[in-house]
């Protein structure tokens, strides 16, 4: 995973709530067996509408997506995170996320920042007034800075550390392989064995 410390970029205002993972990437794109190349599926149904914000050339090259509450609800598909990453987003800002999407994003180096609705609306206004508005997302200080505003955001220390260091979860867990083996030695005898 790529390390994440401070990211500066421009943003796309997505004035919608309940952007579920079926909208982020429809199921038809989930048939692939690869892990990259999902950018064509990102918001594919909505992108057919020429007035959809991602089609506005003023927001070309933006790397921060600012969306309404309940972003990434629904299906567990990690493809939603891959599609956002592949398209070029490094950060999503929303008042609230679907749990599984949030977990997936933090494992893939896509920083999902939670800011209050009022801050999201200020960001929308800023980038709609001037799409070139520069937004600084600082994971070290846990702050978002734009247009003279500074908003603090919360992220648990462990997730933050993993992102800052770009660490792979499996490698971290395997340092405790002995503890796993020890646990397995006293699991109840009536447990299910498939094989």
């Amino acid at each position: 995973m790529e390390k994440f410390t401070v990211h500066t970029g421009t943003a796309v205002p997505l004035r919608r709530s309940n952007v579920d993972t079926d909208q982020i990437i429809p199921a038809v794109y989930l048939k692939r067996v690869t892990r990259t190349g999902f950018e064509d599926g990102l918001f594919s149904a909505w992108r057919e509408d020429p007035s959809f914000v991602l089609n506005n050339p003023a927001y070309a090259g933006a790397s921060i997506l600012v969306a309404g509450p309940e972003f990434g609800t629904g299906s567990s598909r990690e493809h939603a995170v891959w599609a956002l990453n592949d398209y070029g987003f490094r950060v999503v800002v929303s008042p609230r996320y679907g749990d599984i999407f949030r977990g997936n994003s933090l494992k893939q180096g896509l920083l999902t920042v939670e800011l209050p609705q009022a801050a999201v609306e200020t960001l929308w206004d800023l980038v709609e007034a001037d799409p070139a508005t520069s937004i600084e997302v600082d994971l070290v200080a846990r702050e978002v800075r734009a247009g003279g505003h500074t908003w603090a955001f919360a992220l648990d220390d462990f997730s933050r550390w993993r992102l800052l260091e770009g660490l792979d979860d499996i490698g971290l867990t395997l340092r405790h392989a002995d503890a796993i083996t020890e646990f397995e030695s006293h699991r109840p005898a009536f447990g299910v064995l498939v094989g």
Binding site: D22, K31, T73, R77, E78, N104, T173, G191, V194
Partner: protein
């Protein structure tokens, strides 16, 4: 110290606990399907890792599979994904129920029916509806592909203990009102984010009276209001359902297991971080009108006015939903005509659901111009239904009796809505385009689905007496 059911299951699975880190939880059962696993297996291969516990891992094919035959997957991309799962399972020694196998089916139907799902277990799957298994008093939740790889490699997951919520459903469900109506009403009451950050426990007399199938329907939709998992305390209903199933313990092991399972229900002094109440006796058949599962209403009511909602965010969402759904505020929900009726999915594709739909359809006909698909949740459900003659009821009514799979719940296989088509669906998501690009979905119970098929517009079985059996 008094603990909740979820806390007890959690505590029994902590491999390692350290200050400032999530707990490392042991996973008792890992379910796999073709969609969210290929990249995880690839990750193992790249790192030279094995599946740590193939004996705690089981796979099935469901999302991409056709339901009109058991042999041919026409779409080459779907076929590649299925073939990839078969290769991966063979290479890593994981048991697979492929298309055509007597145990193949939707992953959340396949697990319980074999007795793989048991109280007190931790269960994960790369699928958000893994919450289904919570109906047995197990801690079950959906994970992403990175986590699938993590569980394959380590049989554990780092997890922070969520907050605890109790959902107490008082009273008794009126006749004709089902578990599906109950959970749809709850999601509308609490909103799609209401359960976010919580493991919930459904309890109270109305929950205790539900069959295991009904409990699975309730737990299944926990994710639709944002809850991490939705548990129900194991009781005699649970034990009776499990006993004798293939993977259920036997003999002395069964007695030991039941003795343990009886220790799991929430202790009387245990404290929840939040409590929510719902009165079952006030419920009616319930349907969705919008494009998220929290946009629902009693079948007796009308399409709401988007301006009637309390916040701008809700108003904007409702405006967009009504437009997408091509509905006019104030229209009676019973006046909404449908093109397609779908009975099936991990929410309502079990034998009891099919029996309910058949009871409504017996001696009646699907309305002209309406297509009805009945898709059993698993090959085993299909076989049981045929033993009971349910398939004859469906086909006599003019419905299609199909093979098991996820089918029209999501647009990954040939069963999809055409753009502009409207469905009454027993599945779990009414998102834009969920059942096919441009399709419009109303979530309903099996009874409402069947009655709607007969009249051609959203209906409850009680409405049919006025229509009469044709």
């Amino acid at each position: 110290m008094s603990r909740t059911l979820a806390q007890k299951v959690w505590d029994a699975h902590v491999v390692r606990r350290a200050e400032g880190e999530p707990d490392l939880l042991y996973i008792d059962l890992h379910l796999l399907h073709e969609v969210t696993s290929p990249q995880a297996f690839d990750g193992l291969r790249l790192a030279g890792r094995a599946v740590r516990r193939p004996d705690l891992t089981i796979a099935t094919e469901d999302h991409n599979t056709p339901t009109d035959n058991l042999l041919t997957i026409a779409d080459p991309v779907s076929r590649t994904q299925i073939e990839t799962l078969r290769k991966n399972c063979a290479e890593f020694g994981v048991k697979l129920h492929p298309l055509g196998d007597p145990q193949q089916g939707v992953v959340h139907v396949m697990g319980p029916q074999q007795g793989l799902t048991q109280p007190g277990m931790t269960i994960v799957c790369g699928d958000s509806h893994t919450s289904t298994h919570g109906a047995f008093g197990s801690l079950a939740f959906g994970i992403g592909t990175s986590e699938v790889e993590h569980v394959l490699a380590t049989q554990t997951l780092p997890q922070a203990l969520p907050k605890q919520m109790a959902v107490t459903v008082t009273g008794e469900l009126p006749p004709g009102v089902s578990a599906k109506d109950l959970i749809l009403a709850l999601i509308t009451q609490e909103g799609t984010g209401g359960g976010r950050g919580y493991v919930v426990e459904y309890r109270g007399p109305a929950i205790e009276k539900l069959s295991m199938e009904g409990r699975m329907t309730v737990s299944n939709m926990s994710i639709e209001w944002g809850a991490k998992a939705g548990l129900i305390a194991p009781d005699e209903t649970t034990f009776a359902w499990l006993k004798g199933r293939t993977f259920a313990p036997q003999g002395q092991a069964w007695d030991d297991a039941v003795a343990y399972w009886k220790t799991l229900p929430t202790d009387s002094g245990a404290v929840f971080d939040k409590e929510v109440f719902l009165d079952a006796s006030a419920l009616t058949p319930f349907v969705t009108w919008g494009t998220n599962p929290g946009q629902g209403a009693s079948l007796d009511s009308v399409v709401p006015d988007p301006e009637s909602f309390g916040t701008e965010s809700e108003r904007a969402a409702a405006r967009r939903a009504v437009e997408y759904m091509d509905l006019t505020p104030g229209t009676a929900l019973r006046d909404v005509n449908v093109d397609v009726v779908f009975v099936g999915s991990c929410t309502n594709g079990r034998l009891e659901d099919l029996r309910t739909a058949a009871d409504v359809l017996r001696g009646r006909k699907v309305a002209d111009g309406v297509r009805m698909l009945v898709v059993p949740g698993s090959a085993a459900v299909r076989e049981q239904a045929e033993e009971e003659g349910l398939h004859e009821v469906f086909t006599a009514a003019g419905a299609e009796w199909r093979f098991a799979g996820c089918s029209m719940c999501l647009g990954m296989n040939p069963d999809t809505l055409q753009p502009g088509q409207r469905s009454a669906s027993t599945s779990n998501r009414n998102f834009e385009g969920r059942q096919g690009k441009g399709g419009r979905t109303h979530l309903v119970s099996p009874a409402v689905a069947a009655a709607t098929a007969v009249t051609g517009h959203l209906s409850a079985p009680a409405d049919l007496d006025a229509v009469g059996a044709r």
